[in-house]
Subunit: 308 residues, 2 copies
Amino acid sequence: MINRLMEKIQKTGAPIVVGLDPMLKFVPEQIQKKAFSEYGETLEGAAEAVWQYNKGIVDAIWDLVPAVKPQIAMYEQFGVPGVAVFKRTVDYCREKGLVVIGDVKRGDIGSTSEAYAVGHLGRVQVGERSYSGFGEDFATVNPYLGSDGIRPFLKVCQEEKKGIFVLVKTSNPSSGEFQDRLVDGKPLYEIVGEKVAAWGGECMGEQYSYVGAVVGATYPEQGKLLRKKMPRTLILVPGYGAQGGKGADLVHFFNEDGLGAIINSSRGIIAAYQQEQYAKYGAQNYADASRAAVLAMKEDIAKALAAR
Amino acid sequence: MINRLMEKIQKTGAPIVVGLDPMLKFVPEQIQKKAFSEYGETLEGAAEAVWQYNKGIVDAIWDLVPAVKPQIAMYEQFGVPGVAVFKRTVDYCREKGLVVIGDVKRGDIGSTSEAYAVGHLGRVQVGERSYSGFGEDFATVNPYLGSDGIRPFLKVCQEEKKGIFVLVKTSNPSSGEFQDRLVDGKPLYEIVGEKVAAWGGECMGEQYSYVGAVVGATYPEQGKLLRKKMPRTLILVPGYGAQGGKGADLVHFFNEDGLGAIINSSRGIIAAYQQEQYAKYGAQNYADASRAAVLAMKEDIAKALAAR
């Protein structure tokens, strides 16, 4: 799957992943009204609204980008009907040929991580048959529990040719509270990054490893250092746009060959019609606004890479 | 909810939480057969088997213990039908008067942690109405992203009188890989523990805080130190039984008043009938074996506390 993702990045010329992180306040009124008229103002109604909204965006952007990243928290907030729409979104995006990164940030002790790995990336045995629970292509994973929380994911990645992105340095303001603490003179994120490179060495694709890393766009200097520490690691970079990351901050996350990073934007794309710049599209044409925002982001990144 | 949990611990005399972490290999054959005959060897069939198995255990132990802790990974492995049974289990346990700790180990950047907090502990707004997505009483939370990943949980805890347990020192063998690394001469888990005590100070119940900590039974020395660092923090202690923790290891996790810790056992209780000691019950009476295992665990802890 990492090879397929790298191919798709090169083919689209867009090292971009669209974060499908729906909040009801992003969903245009006409979609909410229709869903509520059918299902009432219920969790099922909210889930239906989210699904129709997602579908509109995916239909508008699927040919431009290699991948999408649904954030499962945004679906879990609507309980079981929300989780069902997460699954439906994963399936629909895969049908459209998109690589799906489940932003689930799971991580637990060994036997429990195994259940997460099976549920999100692998197949669970039920009697004589086996089933894919959620069936993403990649999942994000939290490293706080150490190697034996990660290994079950590596095992499933090898079996299923799937991948993970391990949290190394997150994009949020207080990420430094623990991640930047110095251990033997080195910040913790660097130690985690070294581990990611080591785990990744055990699961190599053609150029890049099945084991990627998450490093926030809001920390370009740390990105520069981690890029060197993890040369064969694809870096998933959140924090572009709404969180403050800009094209020029991103160049350090890429290798010399222009590969090695994939930049996420969520509300900057999916709620583009709510921004002044794209307001002309209106709520009716929210998906066209998203398409325009992807094209602008692609140009911003290409320019920044050309200028370095 | 922390006050209710503390009351229930005192009333039952059992500082015990039963981990509802079902794996199909634990589910007695007669239950699997019945579920598969109704739903086929499908995810729905597996989920039904898990539900019937859980219900049998809960019916057998609800009067003995204050709380249960379903591990959501074990449900997510069965996809959406599995997650629906997680919710059904939460609801059923709450109806039985049990405090429900959702072992979800969520944690993300601010806005996303907010969605998790709302989905698991709070209420989500849908038009004019609001709904509880999963509705646990407590949730476990991963601290790697720092304060702004935790604060949304604190907000919901204050509004809804619910609680969280933050991972401090986990029970697994490689937990030390990052958690034990020395920062200014102090292990990282101690720094996280200090933060937990500080966050907890902002959300106090009568004796204990809404903000608890997870510290593994497999690390008694660390438990002793953390008990002192976090005097008003309820410690959720996994790793008893199957993972190797014993009654004598547990005494350090309790305060002088005999309170301050709640010990989890999962497969040691829910799959007791598969152990030699309880084999006499047989698969038919698996729930009676679970009840006997709870009583034995209660005695083991009481003895250890009396002997200190």
